[in-house]
């Protein structure tokens, strides 16, 4: 048929971010054991409490089992074949951006994240993380004037140990799950954000994670604390080069919102997804969770997941404070042989807590895309409300979509609403658009963005445009 031929002829857009930066790295030997954990800690000159945190986590990790309940199939990961610390060689102490290796600056330039004073984005502060270390954080001083702390977590461990000691692992304890335990033992860097009382962060904050090395895993750790009455919008982007081996990425993100505080966390995940035959790509096992401790606090996750060979990710909210609000807006797109098992957990503990879940899964090629979500209403959560909407879109006839909603309620005076739908882009819909002069590819992307609109509306503006573009690129050649 005409369309199928057309599709065969369309050459898939190559992954734009698949380049490797040639840079000398300091890597430690492969494998993991107690000495490696100690070595990482000593490389970072960490205080004792953090070494203990790591060692404790490592002990837990050894006791835990790798989870196998997700709808994912992959070859067993050999944890002794991974390098747990890799850092580009740099001068010991960098005082300013001028001392950063130009190759690194160039890398971020190429990724569209210029860091130098003249070129950097004016409305967003960036923390750039390359393999295991943070390279630079922009606008630090300007943010400091407002009392906002935005720096790498390594710096925070040294300079703000009171906050780290109080909050690190307080949302996701090391024993939470296998990958969180692994991260807690070996995490190398990541971002730290602290918004003081009654401060509205004057600009968006963002972290850009770049995996460069093929044989080392990336284990970043992010901690965001919003004090009473404060608010912040945080963006996260990620890319990696194309390697034909799989690279493990196991991050932990913890958010803490006190009374009346609000945190908006947006992700565009575009790790390398492997090629059409499913060779290579990032294994993305991420634990993200926010705790609404304070009354009327709010945590909102929005994510656009387009990359990775495997995605295992459930950004969640624990709603403790009365009238606190949790939100999860997600678009997950899988193509070729990608697999995604993603969703959220909304744990309602406080009274009158509210949560909203909007999940849009798009599966193309032979990929598999599952939504997995838990809504739990505790016995004290009188008047709690949840609304969930999970829509799946299938493109072609070889892709799979699943929805696994779990609902547990111990409070009769609460409301849980779940809606789900599955649709397929039909030949007739495409023909309708085409018969009005709209190109085949544009017709597909119009329908996909239409399908995702509810979620895109939640993203910061530049992010939404980028996400829209990204989806159409990812889908090129996927419809038949």
């Amino acid at each position: 048929m005409v369309n199928e031929n057309l599709v065969d002829n369309i050459v898939s857009e190559p992954y734009k971010y698949g380049f490797v930066t040639e840079i000398e790295s300091e890597k430690i030997s492969k494998g993991i054991n107690e000495d490696i954990v100690r070595l990482i800690s000593s490389k970072k000159n960490e205080p004792e409490y953090l070494l203990n945190f790591r060692l404790n986590a490592f002990k837990k990790w050894k006791e835990l089992q790798e989870p196998d309940w997700a709808d994912l199939g992959y070859e067993k990961i050999d944890y002794q074949d991974i390098i747990y610390y890799s850092a580009p060689k740099q001068k010991d102490k960098i005082k300013s951006l001028d001392e950063v290796d130009p190759k690194l600056l160039e890398t971020f330039d190429k990724l569209g994240i210029p860091l130098t004073e003249q070129k950097r984005l004016t409305n967003v502060a960036v923390d750039a993380v390359f393999d295991s270390v943070s390279i630079a954080t922009t606008f630090k001083e300007q943010l400091a004037e407002h009392g906002v702390i935005f720096c790498s977590i390594s710096e925070a461990i040294k300079d703000h140990s009171d906050l780290i000691e109080k909050y690190l692992g307080s949302v996701i304890p090391a024993s939470d799950n296998y990958f969180a335990a692994l991260n807690s033992a070996v995490f190398s860097d990541g971002s730290f954000v602290y918004i003081p009382k009654n401060v509205t962060c004057p600009m968006d904050l963002s972290s850009y994670f770049r995996i460069n090395s093929g044989d080392s895993g990336q284990f970043e750790r992010t901690l965001i604390i919003a004090e009473e009455g404060s608010s912040v919008s945080y963006l996260e982007g990620c890319t990696a080069p194309m390697f034909d081996t799989n690279t493990l990425h196991a991050a932990v993100v913890e958010l803490i919102a006190l009374d009346d505080a609000s945190i908006k966390y947006s992700t565009v995940q575009n790790w390398y997804a492997g090629n059409e035959q499913g060779v290579g790509g990032i294994f993305n096992f991420v634990t993200k969770r926010g705790k609404c401790i304070g009354k009327r606090s709010k945590i909102s996750w929005s994510q656009v997941e387009t990359g990775s060979a495997i995605t295992w990710k459930y950004p969640s909210c624990i709603l403790i404070g009365e009238e606190s609000i949790g939100e999860f807006y997600s678009v997950a797109l899988t193509n070729n042989l990608q697999q995604a098992d993603t969703g959220t957990k909304m744990i309602h503990i406080g009274a009158k807590t509210k949560s909203t879940i909007v999940s849009k899964g798009i599966s193309a090629g032979q990929s598999s895309n599952s939504y997995r979500g838990l809504v739990k209403i505790g016995s004290q959560a009188k008047g709690a409300r949840n609304y969930s909407q999970c829509d799946s879109m299938l493109i072609g006839d070889k892709a799979a979509a699943n929805t696994f909603p779990y609902i547990q309620s111990q409070q009769p005076n609460s409301e849980v609403e779940h809606e789900a739908s599955t649709c397929r882009i039909s030949e007739d819909q495409l023909f309708y658009l085409q018969s009005r002069g709209i190109e085949f590819e544009e017709a597909v992307s119009m329908m996909v963005s239409g399908f995702c609109r509810d979620v895109f509306n939640q993203l910061p503006m530049e992010f939404a445009a980028e996400a829209d573009k990204l989806l159409s690129l990812k889908l090129e050649g996927s419809v038949g």
């Binding site: 048929m1 005409v2 369309n3 057309l6 649709c423 039909s426 030949e427 007739d428 819909q429 023909f431 309708y432 658009l433 085409q434 018969s435 009005r436 002069g437 709209i438 190109e439 085949f440 544009e442 017709a443 119009m446 329908m447 963005s449 239409g450 399908f451 995702c452 609109r453």
Partner: protein, 261 residues
């Protein structure tokens, strides 16, 4: 000096067209010629191949031309994709316009209009310019601008869907418009609105094919030619009186053309 002789070129010419879907031959030698300014009606029983013919002209991927030609202004359109056919001026008004959730009608109309304008080497319209244009065209089909902010055809009534089709026709200014049972499912008021819209859009440079079962649309829009189709062929052509005859005598007489040959 030799005076150039004006040759009147047909807008659309279909010659001995055979077409099939899933190995089933549906069109078995269709011939039609449409000149600028002409309105043709194609009538016939369900399953005679009328809708198939319209989809084949528009380039539906489920059908295959096995022999014969379709030419638009002397150019064979078979190698063209559906979108290229639309851009070059072929318009199909669907019998059952499909719903497309999430895609705004306004945005869709703008992208479609600009695709056609780009082909015609006219300047593309920005959102403001387009809103001006579309408001003007809304009047033709007496549609409220509230339709524009909704998803394409989603939740539209039967009549609204058909009016939306005619709105698209008005915006795209096609050379040849094929309207597949645009009258079906319409009450008499909606029919009048749709018919008067079509008449307003019709002009001396373009052609229209009305596919219908009933006389009532043709009471509103008088065709220059009426073709009767049976078993994938046109078995009789006449003027508007032929439609009146059909109205009176029905289609039973066409049955003798089926499975004979």
């Amino acid at each position: 000096m030799e005076r150039k002789k004006e040759i009147k070129q047909p807008l659309l010419e279909i010659r001995d067209l055979f077409a099939s879907t899933e190995n089933l031959t549906i069109l078995k030698g269709v011939n039609i010629k449409i000149n600028p300014g002409e309105i043709h009606a194609i009538m016939g029983r369900n399953g005679c191949g009328k809708s198939t013919l319209s989809k084949i002209i528009a380039g539906h991927p489920s059908y295959e031309i096995t022999s014969g030609q379709i030419e638009l202004c002397g150019k064979d359109i078979e190698p063209l994709e559906p979108e290229e056919r639309a851009q070059s001026g072929i318009f199909l008004g669907f019998q059952y316009p499909i719903e497309i959730p999430g895609v705004s009608n306004l945005e869709f109309l703008r992208v479609a209009t600009n695709a056609r304008r780009k082909f015609q080497k006219k300047e593309e319209l920005d959102t403001f310019e387009f809103e001006e244009l579309v408001k003007e065209k809304l009047d033709i089909v007496k549609m409220d601008s509230a339709f524009l902010s909704r998803s394409i055809n989603q939740g539209f009534s039967g009549g609204e869907k058909k009016r939306n089709e005619i709105l698209q026709m008005a915006l795209l200014e096609p050379k040849i418009a094929i309207l597949d049972e645009t009258d079906s499912g319409l009450d008499i008021d909606a029919l009048r609105i749709v018919a008067s819209g079509i008449k307003k859009i019709a002009n001396k440079n373009s052609g229209i094919i009305l596919i219908t079962h009933y006389q009532r649309l043709l009471d509103e829009i008088k065709p220059d030619f009426v073709h009767v189709m049976a078993d994938g062929k046109i078995i009789k052509t006449g003027d508007s009186n032929l439609a009146l005859e059909l109205e009176k005598n029905g289609y039973d007489w066409t049955d003798e053309f089926i499975n004979k040959k």
